[in-house]
């Protein structure tokens, strides 16, 4: 029986004042910056006018280089702990986020997006260049491109567009 009996608690916006509470030292550093095999994952978050969001927050969840999604604690105090496969990054004044992580042996990195002005969490996926799966196959070419990170030097770049023609593909897991 998977029938649900309790109604969900509704979400609410993260608001403008999360910066002293949710970010913490090392939050976006899933592996140390510049360590062997590390990857910079970065991008910008834009509103419907193309203006960057300086008050958004992204969280990522991913497998490691072995394809395993870690289930180990330590994300809040990373020093000396193994890769946890989870990180958090608030956008800066230019709307930019950046993570130091590894390229997973998986097709995508899962993403949760929060922002002032956004009344509930939104989910998306950052597909690795060249990745494919049945969900990606179900999209049209433009959507597929918007869900796939591009490689720039040693970094993967993935922008989030909250609305409009180029809107990021957001997911409904209902």
């Amino acid at each position: 029986m998977t029938e649900r009996t309790l109604p969900a608690t509704p979400g609410q916006t993260v608001g403008p004042f999360f910066h002293y509470a949710l970010p913490y030292p090392g939050d976006n550093e899933l592996v140390p910056w510049g360590s062997p095999g590390s990857l910079t994952l970065r991008g910008r978050v834009y509103d419907g006018d193309g203006a960057p969001l300086p008050d958004a927050l992204l969280e990522i969840r991913q497998a490691g280089i072995d394809g395993v999604v870690p289930q180990v604690p330590g994300s809040l105090r990373r020093y000396g702990v193994p890769f946890t496969g989870w990180g958090r990054c608030a956008t800066d004044n230019a709307g930019e986020y950046r993570f130091s992580t590894v390229e997973p042996d998986a097709s995508f990195i899962a993403v949760a997006v929060f922002a002032r002005g956004l009344l509930d969490v939104l989910f998306t996926r950052i597909y690795l260049p060249g990745a494919t799966d049945s969900f990606l196959d179900s999209l049209d070419t433009a959507e597929r491109d918007r869900m796939t990170a591009r490689r720039e030097g040693d970094a993967l770049v993935f922008d989030v567009r909250m609305q409009g023609e180029e809107q990021t593909v957001f997911l409904d897991f209902t």
Binding site: A8, T9, R77
Partner: protein
């Protein structure tokens, strides 16, 4: 010249229009009375997807991540904050009523005067040198969390003219599945600002938004020390509409 702010009457009219056509238990993302949402809500439909891979597993937190003292917001800064001392406690459950065990809960809030320590908060109410207004804890084996803090004050914001947020505590929760991630706000019973607030009213189903209001709980209150509030949280997954039991 900045555009003059709309009046509360204009916002309340818009709230009333949306309320005529309630749209489910989650907030509407396209909710114009909350002006900041206008350019920040998706205008294309979300795509149905089945959770896969990393989406099936929430991050894991443990005693190395959180110090138990972080659950007491009244002892963090070398003195007692001003305000009404309270305990807020409850359980984090999944849609089947199972406790979400040993999982991270984060909170942040304004002080008793309605002022956040955040630099962007320019409300001319006093900061409290003994209150930062953020806390963390891990749920126990019964899914229970508990925080000691002071009751936050309502505060003004610039959504419209004479806009005031009802007093609230921001809550951030993780389930067992990445798609159960929830950030929300807990409110206090009987707040006269509920009807006027476009963030609270963005949940257009009245029963659903009442689930964000804690109950005063005299069994949690402690003599000569603090007042108790209870609030349970149910995480069912992303934008899920719970199915009603059919065998009643």
């Amino acid at each position: 010249m900045p555009t003059p702010l709309d009046s509360q009457a204009t916002i309340s009219e818009e709230i009333a229009t949306y309320a005529k056509d309630p749209s489910g238990p989650q907030p509407r993302l396209d909710y114009a009375p909350y002006r900041s949402s206008i350019l920040r809500h998706p205008t294309k439909a979300l795509k149905q997807a089945d959770p896969e891979g990393a989406e099936l597993l929430a991050p894991v937190f443990g005693p190395t991540d959180v110090d138990p003292l972080e659950a007491d917001l009244t002892i963090q800064d070398g003195g007692e904050p001003l305000g009404e001392r309270i305990r807020v406690q409850g359980r984090v459950l999944d849609g089947d009523g199972r406790p979400v065990r040993r999982q991270l809960v984060e909170v942040w809030q304004a002080n008793a005067s309605g002022r956040y320590i955040h630099q962007r908060d320019q409300h001319p109410a006093p900061l409290d040198p003994h209150f930062t207004g953020m806390g963390r804890c891990l749920t126990d084996d019964d899914g229970r969390y508990t925080f000691v803090t002071v009751k936050p004050g309502p505060y003004p914001w610039k959504n419209h003219q004479n806009a005031w947020r009802p007093a609230h505590i921001h809550f951030s929760m993780f389930g067992t599945d990445f798609t159960q991630r929830l950030v929300t706000q807990m409110y206090f019973p009987g707040d006269p600002l509920f009807a006027l607030d476009p963030i609270y009213q963005s949940i257009t189903d009245p029963q659903a938004r009442e689930r964000l209001v804690a109950s005063y709980d005299h069994d949690v209150s402690e003599p000569e020390f603090l007042l108790g509030y209870s609030w349970d949280i149910v995480l069912t997954g992303s934008r899920t509409t719970p199915m009603e039991a059919t065998d009643d």
